[in-house]
């Protein structure tokens, strides 16, 4: 699987309150949540992006609350992948469980500039900056997590385990 999109850059420690502020958590409808995606980090984010665009961020992306509304908002805003230097653990776990593609790639996250177009190959973890031509490699997922992703997330894995 491959994704190609324009890059939107964010700094370190982008927290879930910035990704989806709690004032919008009185609903859990993905479409409603998408309207406020990244609002407190960049109020115009949702107006600027196109389907398939990619978020590139610094260290500790998704820190703070456990709200799954955060990856849900990003996914339903049609962001195709989040690439970061590192992720906070609950956010990381939530993405694997619910199927928002993420990649940890410190060098790529540092170097790739906003507005560049990048291509991500999820099968081999290769990230190609189409603007500069440079190719990066993401950290591979352990086999257990690859299996989780291949099965389409945690609930599908549970379904197959419980023979539902």
């Amino acid at each position: 699987m491959k994704s190609t999109g324009k890059v939107w850059k964010f700094g370190n420690d982008i927290n879930t309150d910035e990704i989806i502020p709690a004032r919008y958590l009185n609903v859990s409808d993905p479409k409603e949540l998408a309207k406020h995606c990244m609002e407190d980090a960049d109020p115009d984010f949702i107006k600027k992006i196109s389907a398939g665009d990619i978020i590139v961020a610094g260290k500790n992306f998704g820190c703070g609350s456990s709200r799954e509304h955060a990856p849900i908002a990003i996914k339903s805003a049609n962001i195709s992948c989040v690439l970061a230097e590192s992720f906070a653990r609950i956010f990381y776990r939530n993405c694997l469980n619910m199927g928002l593609p993420i990649l940890e790639a410190p060098e790529a996250a540092k170097e790739i500039k906003e507005g560049n177009t990048i291509e991500i190959n999820f099968d081999n973890g290769e990230i190609t900056d189409k603007t500069t031509g440079k190719v990066y490699k993401a950290k591979p997922f352990p086999p257990f997590m690859q299996d989780l992703i291949a099965k389409g997330g945690l609930m599908n894995k549970i379904r197959s385990e419980l023979s539902l």
Binding site: D17, E18, N26, V27, S65, S66, R89, R93, F144, G153
Partner: protein
């Protein structure tokens, strides 16, 4: 090779003799928690499985604490999902307005969590229960849904970091300051994916409530869990609240730590975390930042010991005329106890608003939202951009004594500065 307390609890719940950091395990769960924000998504996912029952109706806890008493129609609909689900599936531990408390104050108080347990909660501050010698960590709604079905979850065994605190505590220094000091030292991702084990002579002297405050904020350093040794205080606390037979685990002398840090507590003063990260700690003394609101409460500092400390500072004083002071007992029992001890008289004379238990303002939900440009000192755990209201507002984290003194002064001060 020895194991840490975290490794031992995880090994026991995975049915293994030993585990080591990095290992992926499937662990049996003793308790699964969700609230009115996270549980609605989990309930929807659980229902989609089409199962007729949950793994154990006594081991699921649903706490409607964030936007309750229901702040608007949408929140009311979310809470109703919890109530309907609890009735249909016979969930014993469902708590709503009038019986509810802020979840991480409520569960320890009810004796639902204790030493040696393995707990997940769809709330990041689920790490609080490590204060009682449990392995306890925050997860998302999908994890909660899967756990309600199977009673199990997957974990990567974390590396452990040890934090040793020795020395007496200076006046007005609390568990809150010890954990703020730690986060200030290692940063908001300083313990990313790791277990944070707190130990040393200072910790032995610290109350259970002080330990709950510390474990609560392990997540603010990126930690997977915060954990304390079970001692006489833990056993007494747990046995007063539950007749469960808890299993006590202890780190081996030759357990392996990714990092060990030692702190001399005589050098720690009451601290304040400045906007917009909990790592931006500075001494409260001499800060002088002008403020508009003070909130005393939350899963971090809304327990009776916290309210007693705030009352001690506020006794015979009034909040500064430009300050809105809001006091939120974390549970109904804390509320009743504070009233019985006369603390409410002190708060009311100080012109504080006293609220029913709720997470409310801590996450910018309701009951004390900030306008653009306003500043608040809060005894809560996060001071991110827009956390308590307008993205242009500011939150300063502090202990209850600093918060109360700052309410009197109208600016951030050390409690000494208002005498």
């Amino acid at each position: 090779m020895g194991m840490t307390i975290t490794e031992k609890i995880l090994a026991a719940h995975a049915g293994k003799k030993t585990v080591s950091p990095g290992e992926l395990i499937e662990a049996k769960l003793d308790l699964v928690l969700g609230n009115d924000i996270t549980a609605p998504i989990a309930i929807k996912e659980f229902r989609e499985l089409g199962l007729k029952k949950v793994f154990d109706k006594k081991k699921i806890v649903l706490v409607a604490d964030h936007f309750t008493p229901n702040k608007d129609i949408q929140s009311a609909e979310q809470v109703k999902l919890l109530r309907d689900f609890s009735r249909e599936f016979g969930i014993i531990h469902f708590y709503d307005t009038g019986r509810v408390g802020v979840e991480h104050a409520l569960l320890p108080e009810l004796g639902l969590v204790g030493p040696g347990m393995c707990v997940i909660g769809a709330d990041s501050h689920t790490c609080t229960y490590g204060a009682l010698g449990a392995f306890s960590t925050g997860v998302g709604s999908t994890d909660m849904a899967a756990a309600m079905a199977t009673g199990k979850t997957w974990f990567k065994v974390p590396e452990s970091m040890k934090f040793i605190f020795n020395g007496k505590l200076n006046q007005y220094v609390t568990g809150k300051d010890l954990i703020l000091h730690t986060i200030g030292d290692i940063g908001v991702d300083g313990a990313l994916y790791k277990a944070m084990e707190f130990t040393g002579s200072t910790i032995s002297g610290l109350s259970i409530e002080g330990r709950l405050t510390m474990a609560n904020m392990a997540i603010e350093a990126g930690g997977k869990n915060g954990i304390f040794k079970t001692d006489k205080k833990t056993i007494q606390y747990s046995s007063e609240r539950s007749n469960k037979n808890y299993k006590v685990y202890e780190s081996d002398k030759d357990a392996v730590y990714a990092e060990i840090r030692e702190y001399d507590t005589t050098k720690i003063e009451p601290l304040v975390a400045f906007p917009h990260l909990p790592e931006k700690t500075k001494p409260a003394r001499g800060s002088g930042v002008k403020i508009d609101q003070v909130v005393i409460g939350s899963c971090t500092n809304g327990r009776i010991e916290d309210l007693r400390l705030a009352a001690k500072i506020l006794k015979g004083k009034k909040a500064h005329k430009d300050i809105r002071l809001i006091v939120i007992p974390a549970t109904q029992a804390v509320y009743a106890q504070a009233m019985k001890e006369g603390l409410f008289d002190i708060f009311l004379r100080a012109e504080a608003a006293i609220s029913t238990p709720t997470c409310g303002p801590c996450l910018g939900g309701h009951m004390g939202i900030l306008a653009k440009g306003e500043r608040c000192v809060a005894t809560t755990n996060r001071n991110f951009v827009g956390r308590m209201g307008h993205p242009g507002s500011e939150v300063y984290l502090a202990n209850p004594a600093v918060a109360a003194a700052s309410a009197v002064a109208g600016k951030i001060v050390h409690p000494d500065e208002i005498k």
